[in-house]
Amino acid sequence: MLVALITGLATGALYACAALVYNVMFSTSKVLSVTTGHISMLGGVFGAWFISALGWPVPVALIGSLVIGAAFGLLTDFIAIRRVLARSDEHLWLLSTLALATMVQQAAGLWWGTEPKPFPRIIPQDFSVGLADQKYWLPVVVAILMAVALEMFYRRTLYGKLFVAMSEDAFAARARGIPTERIRALSYVIAGAMGGLAGFAAGQLTFAYFALGLTLTLNGFIALAVGGLGSNLGALVGGAALGILSSVATFYVGGEYHQTISVGLLMLVLLLKPAGLFGAQTVRPV
């Protein structure tokens, strides 16, 4: 039972990271990108490749993963978001990010192989420590660190305040002289680096696996929708709740219905509280 709880918390922390990445992208562009999970997938796959195949030391590989994530974030903005937002059709960004996500997943599958490969140790630690193993606590630490850093960024720095301004009203922000295009690109770079970090930290839990992206996109979104769109605290709570619930349910029912249970949670929350636990109420546009 304790094993189920701790595994759930670790997986939930990874979902929370994905939800935070969604939040950062959403704040400046009002886009929920399908590529969110794929950023973390790239972070994990490239981290494993840097360490195992190229023999880079861990800190360098970590920086490499961050750069890969940030570059992919920027690429998402550049290819899939920028042109589409200019057209103002609300469905098109879903299609363009879906197309990009598919391409990245297939390219990773062709290059890296379709088998999950083990992720090397990040911190030297004996394998016999059981539940104190780094693969359980690393994602949790990273998720909490990222949420705290994000809150500090929003509250204490000028750029953070620009993000908040854009999420409140992008047109008004533009009218006040904020370079909205550049701020959006910056937010995608930050989100990409966060996703890369999450994928790197959770690599030992998930393995370096090309199909991780789609599951993470879905589960991160469920965590986000449960916690409430736009809320960082909600992302943490939603991720932890989703991870623990599905892992405990797996413990009692069996692993076959893992996905069914997490979607059940999503539907329940959306029916009872459509804005999520900590989300802001949306006004119906007329």
């Binding site: 929920l32 879906l98 197309a99 996500a101 598919t102 076959e256 546009p285």
Partner: protein, 336 residues
């Protein structure tokens, strides 16, 4: 194109399709044509959901899987007549569409897409978990159809007939009030509501209809595959259906049909594309979304209009003075 030449073109196409078994050459091409037909039965219904009402369902492969398994289980171990089993597959998938659509069609775009994605994953999970019923990962052998349809030619004609029926049905829905209402929902929900389109009911109805066609398509698809496992119904297949419609053009019928034909046949005929598979679909989707969001069909329209510009119709708006005078004269309350 004049109505007469349009009729001739239609008749020639039908003739070519019906006689395909005699001139296609080998059985593999015939199988490919039958596969395109089975896909089109699903995509034709999905087109009403994605192309007309703008609900981005990326998880229809789940309904296809339910239809395929329903047909296989009923017609195989339970010995139900295949025709009845196909009807049952359609009915069951219509019901599943209703159950899926009731909560999820109320959600906004991205939420709906994620709900259908989750549905597809859940179906895979359940087919793997319920090993007693579905054979689990090992899969099931699909029973063949009865006498006139058990040959490749016979199953081709059956699929062709059903595909033609689906095309005719969707065309009828699309060109009357219903289709206009769906397009209104796609372009602006608020406006559609304001002019009296029953938004939720219209969306739910076409979603259930697309469920029925997906179930029938699943049964036909299973017959063509002759052996089904959960791996047959990977998520990428659902993406493929979706890409066919978007590439063909939203709000058309011919465009998605061409998209289905080209996207199914191209990887089979051009070998290097088959290796790239889904990557190629993703690339195509990205290019179409970025360059011609209206779909490839729009490109043809632009080319045609370039060579034969449409004459702008002029509507003269002038007051009908006689009628106005009569109306004033016959008005009972004369304000003085």
């Amino acid at each position: 194109m004049t109505p007469a030449s349009r009729k001739i073109a239609l008749a020639l196409t039908v003739l070519a399709l019906v006689t395909l078994p005699w001139w296609s050459g080998d059985l593999y091409k015939l199988h490919l044509a039958a596969l395109i037909g089975a896909y089109w039965v699903l995509i034709g219904g999905l087109n009403l959901v994605v192309g007309y009402s703008g609900q981005l369902s990326i998880g229809h492969v789940g309904l296809l899987a339910i239809g395929a398994y329903c047909f296989t289980i009923l017609a195989g171990p339970h010995g139900v007549h295949p025709a009845l089993a196909i009807a049952a597959a359609g009915g069951l998938c219509g019901l599943c569409g209703l159950l899926l659509g009731l909560p999820s069609l109320r959600l906004p775009g991205f939420y709906f897409a994620m709900a259908t994605l989750a549905f597809a994953l859940i179906v895979t999970e359940i087919t793997l978990a319920q090993g007693d019923l579905t054979g689990g990962g090992i899969g099931l052998a699909v029973p063949s159809l009865p006498a006139p349809f058990d040959t490749p030619q016979g199953s081709y004609w059956l699929i062709l007939a059903i595909a033609a029926l689906v095309t005719w049905l969707t065309w009828n829905i699309a060109r009357y009030t219903w289709g206009r209402g769906l397009i209104a929902i796609r372009d602006s929900v608020v406006t559609a509501q304001a002019v009296g389109v029953p938004v939720f009911r219209a969306k739910l109805t076409v979603f259930v209809a697309s469920g029925v066609t997906a179930g029938v398509a699943g049964a036909l698809f299973a017959v063509l595959q002759s052996y089904i496992t959960p791996d047959t119904f990977i998520f990428e297949l659902g993406l493929f259906f979706f890409v066919c419609i978007i590439i063909g053009g939203r709000g058309h019928i011919l465009g998605p049909l061409l998209g289905t034909v080209v996207l199914t046949a191209l990887p089979e005929l051009v070998a290097p594309l088959a290796k790239l598979g889904t990557f190629f679909y993703g690339l195509l989707l990205l290019v179409v979304v970025l360059l011609v969001p209206e779909g490839i069909g729009r490109v043809f329209e632009v080319i045609v209009e370039h060579f034969r510009p449409r004459k702008p119709e002029s509507h003269v708006v002038s007051p009908d003075l006689d009628r106005l005078a009569r109306a004033i004269a016959s008005s009972p309350s004369d304000p003085r």
